[in-house]
């Protein structure tokens, strides 16, 4: 029988290398998977790990996917570090998309004085929408001690139904041939693109700036420190006199705001209108992104890129190799699974029970 034995001091190098080892194992299993499916494993891996990085256009597509993932995962990382389990980022994303979409629909002659400034107003509206949605979670948790896990998850479905009602009802485009969609937003509301005919827009820079801001917030400000103490050792936070209530509100508002911002960038960027297909699962994928990135702002950048490669790779595998698109999910799951396995082995060592006692090494 095998048993796990805690290591006294987990290797620091190994914990940093863990995501890379996990990736390597994922590639290995992926190779096997393609071989079993009767496809050339090299071609298959190429779809996932080479094609998404080849050329400017591919990189632009990659960043369009990675931007919302980074933004949402940053907020979630703060939540999870504070021991607040917000798993409803998807709902906050939709709420942000709704308020931002409403703002975009107001554009017209009467907002001409704002010029391109309307984009800023749209983004702010998105942030507020996301915050409003997560504030419901915070309020119920704070006031009635309702589980934030359940409430945030359930609010995802409420947000999606609200979106459905709006695009099928009051916000439906009168000239839209009865399709469930809002009017196409005016070009002036478009998030400025970086040019070259590519879809990548300034959201990329917003995401990178947010990475820096969150790094500073977490590791250089007293507020960030307080949040993390509350997450790691609630008793120590009480001893120090940090308020658990303000930590709850802060974490939820931050992550709600970030998800809302991602939603705004999405509707006013690549989508350009509200449809029932706004929720694409970014809010859920960002949970994996946050964990694979070690809840660390810089780590999140890399894991978001990786996750986007899986998205694009899945689509390519479908269109070029005739493989099911669900391969994306398989790869995401594999990565998370191998990462957890690597982490376990970094913190514990595997020992065979009843084996002759090994010669102890002095540390």
């Amino acid at each position: 029988m095998l048993k796990l034995e805690a290591r006294s001091q987990p290797s620091k190098v190994m914990s940093l290398a863990s995501p890379l080892i996990a990736l390597a194992i994922t590639v290995l299993i992926g190779t096997l998977l393609f071989a079993i499916l009767g496809k050339d494993p090299l071609r298959g891996l190429q779809m996932f790990f080479v094609e998404p990085l080849r050329g400017l256009y591919a990189l632009s597509e990659l960043s369009v996917k990675a931007t919302p993932l980074i933004l949402i995962a940053l907020g979630l990382a703060v939540c999870y570090r504070s021991n607040v389990w917000n798993i409803g980022a998807e709902g906050q994303f939709v709420a942000g998309a709704l308020t931002a979409g409403w703002m975009a629909m107001q554009a017209g002659p009467q907002t001409a004085w704002m010029g391109r400034g309307i984009v800023l107003a749209i983004l702010v509206a998105g942030v507020l929408g996301g915050m409003l949605w997560s504030a419901i979670v915070a309020l119920l948790r704070d006031r009635f001690n309702a589980s934030e896990i359940l409430v945030s998850l359930m609010l995802v479905y409420v947000a999606e139904l609200l979106l459905g009602w709006l695009v099928y009802g009051p916000w439906k485009d009168p000239q839209g041939y009865n399709f469930p969609q809002s009017i196409a937003f005016l070009p002036i509301t478009q998030i400025p693109r970086l040019g070259g005919g590519m879809r990548v827009n300034i959201g990329l820079f917003i995401a990178l700036a947010a990475v820096a801001a969150f790094w500073i917030f977490l590791f250089r400000t007293y507020r960030g420190f307080q949040l993390q103490v509350g997450g790691l050792a609630p008793q120590a936070a009480r001893y120090a006199g940090f308020s658990a209530r303000s930590a709850l509100w802060m974490a939820l508002l931050l992550s709600g705001g970030m998800s809302g911002l991602a939603g705004a960038l999405e509707v006013a960027g690549p989508l350009g209108q509200l449809t029932p297909y706004v929720p694409e699962g970014y809010g859920f994928a960002a949970i994996i992104v946050a964990y694979v990135g070690r809840l660390h702002p810089v780590g999140i950048v890399f894991s978001a890129i990786l996750m986007s490669m899986f998205y694009i790779g899945g689509e390519l595998a479908q269109s070029r190799l005739g493989l099911p698109k669900s391969l994306t999910g398989v790869f995401q799951g594999l990565l998370l699974f191998t990462l957890l396995a690597c982490d376990t082995l970094i913190h514990y060592r595997l020992r065979a029970r009843r084996a002759p006692p090994s010669q102890p090494k002095e540390a």
């Binding site: 805690a6 120590a236 001893y239 006199g241």
Partner: protein, 504 residues
């Protein structure tokens, strides 16, 4: 023939060698002390004997035969019983039901009850099997545990630090029982670090230090100093105790009453006490008599204290948060080091930020350089053995982390320092250092309030003593006038018969 013989027992844990070729010989009917500091390997050795841990090498002989004990159930089948330091009783069940639950053999509840009465009366153990455990005192709970251990007629009884939760009177009672057991041929392994008790009770003593046996002696022939030398390799340093120059009142409690927060907590009843500048006030008492509740109210972690019940320099602080109280000069060292006094996964440098904010700018920015320098200063000043300011709090030994936490609060130049269990689980050297620091702080004019279960410690450092029992606090007595007997009686709540002393 020996009852139990251990030869060359070794156990390696990932970071430490807990036992290194340990030998132990216990005769029938012998009360055998195993003496050692925290971390000397006593607990590991007992767990090996009781089958809870397997040794890496070495041999165990039971009544002359070589045996391998693979589990506590096997140990009990051989005739080995153990009473742990922390009781494993369910509060809502009766004593008999608790004993019943822990039995290996099938017996009906009435049978168990009858056996309990039999065993209890034959050893003079006073236990009522029908009473629910939550209504029992700590001494009574321990007797339930002992009766449970005795029910299987063991040939060897292991007691792990049995007196750490008892009043001095209850200790005497326990010793009578143990001597009676030994006279009937039961061997007893008595684990302790209290020298007086071992000298009073035990026939033979094996001393452990750093996982090795450092001596086998007859404790009745030894002095505290010689035992201490074997245990820590040196005699404990003597403390400098200067004349008290108590000043103005710093902390005053005015009949503070507070209902318990959790089901098995203790209500506080009309607690009144005063701590003056330049004196150490000690609060004695058996654990679980309201110490935790009182500390939480004083530190501000429990913000429910009624207005006006707690004053600091005459100012009402009852509703102030822990941070605000710290700004006003009240610093607190909690009894739990990991998870409350320090965040286990954070570095020592980060852990200074829990209570020290001079390294944080007004805008809330942390200066990592100043945080690191502060941690370095604390490590240096209080001789904390650690891998530098970046070492995780959980990587430190209990004593070193305690030095760091106490040092963090002392270095903040408090005007009132409240310390809960200052040397709990701390080795003798570090304990002496911490006590010395507390006295030095007192000499600088700080008011110090110490809560401890160790009477010796309180007598050593306190200027005035008072006792907490069942959520009430006794009047205070100058330490010079207090005796162990009197404080011991008070620990059972029996001070009301005596004339009330006016508060000094």
């Amino acid at each position: 023939m020996l009852r139990l013989e251990l030869n060359g027992i070794s156990k390696q844990y990932p970071a430490v060698r807990a036992n290194d070729r340990v030998g132990l010989r216990v005769k029938p009917g012998e009360i055998h002390a195993v003496l050692g500091e925290n971390g000397a390997g006593k607990s590991t050795l007992m767990k090996i004997i009781y089958g809870a841990v397997q040794p890496d090498e070495g041999e165990m002989r039971w009544n002359g035969d070589a045996v391998t004990v693979r589990s506590p159930a096997e140990a009990r089948a051989l005739g080995i019983s153990m009473v742990y330091q922390h009781f494993s009783l369910f509060d809502t069940l009766t004593a008999a039901e608790n004993v019943w639950l822990g039995l290996d053999r099938a017996m009906t509840l009435p049978e168990v009850t009858r056996r309990i009465v039999e065993v209890a009366s034959s050893y003079g153990l006073d236990v009522d099997p029908q009473r629910p455990v939550h209504s029992l005192s700590v001494g009574e709970r321990q007797r339930v545990e002992i009766v449970r251990a005795l029910l299987s007629d063991p040939q060897l009884l292991i007691l792990d630090e049995p007196t750490s939760v008892l009043t001095p009177q209850a200790v005497d009672k326990l010793f009578v029982t143990l001597r009676a057991l030994a006279e009937r041929g039961t061997s007893i392994l008595y684990i302790s670090h209290k020298l007086d008790e071992i000298r009073a009770l035990c026939h033979h003593c094996t001393v452990l230090r750093g996982g090795r046996v450092t001596g086998e002696v007859d404790p009745t022939q030894e002095s505290n100093a010689s035992l201490s030398r074997l245990m820590i390799g040196a005699e404990p340093p003597q403390l400098q105790h200067r004349e008290v120059k108590a000043g103005a009142p710093v902390l005053e409690l005015h009949s503070l009453s507070l209902a318990r927060q959790d089901q098995f907590g203790v209500d506080l009843h009309e607690i009144g006490l005063t701590v003056r500048a330049g004196e150490v006030v000690g609060i004695a008492g058996v654990s679980g008599n309201g110490q935790q509740e009182l500390m939480a109210a004083l530190s501000g972690e429990d913000p429910r204290a009624p207005a006006g019940s707690i004053t600091l320099f005459g100012k009402d602080i009852a509703s102030h948060s822990p941070r605000r109280r710290r700004h006003e000069g009240l610093h607190f060292v909690p009894e739990e080091r990991l998870g409350r006094g320090a965040v286990p996964n954070f570095s020592l440098a980060q852990n200074t930020l829990l209570t020290r904010t001079e390294t944080v700018s007004a805008g809330g920015w942390i200066s990592t350089e100043r945080v690191r320098r502060l941690a370095e200063r604390l490590i240096d000043r209080f001789q904390v053995r650690a891998g530098g300011p970046g070492a995780a709090a959980k990587s430190l030994s209990g004593g070193n982390l305690q030095k760091f936490i106490v040092g963090r609060e002392i270095d903040a130049k408090p005007r009132l320092l409240i310390v809960s269990q200052p040397t709990w689980g701390v080795d003798v050297g570090a304990a002496a250092q911490i006590r010395g620091e507390l006295l030095a702080l007192r000499d600088e004019g700080c008011a110090v309030l110490v809560v401890s279960e160790e009477l010796d410690e309180l007598f050593e450092i306190s200027d005035r003593l008072l006792v907490i029992a069942k959520g009430r606090v006794s009047p205070s007595v100058p330490a010079a006038e207090a005796t162990v007997e009197r404080i011991g009686e008070w620990m059972s709540g029996l001070w009301t018969r005596e004339t009330r002393h006016a508060e000094a």
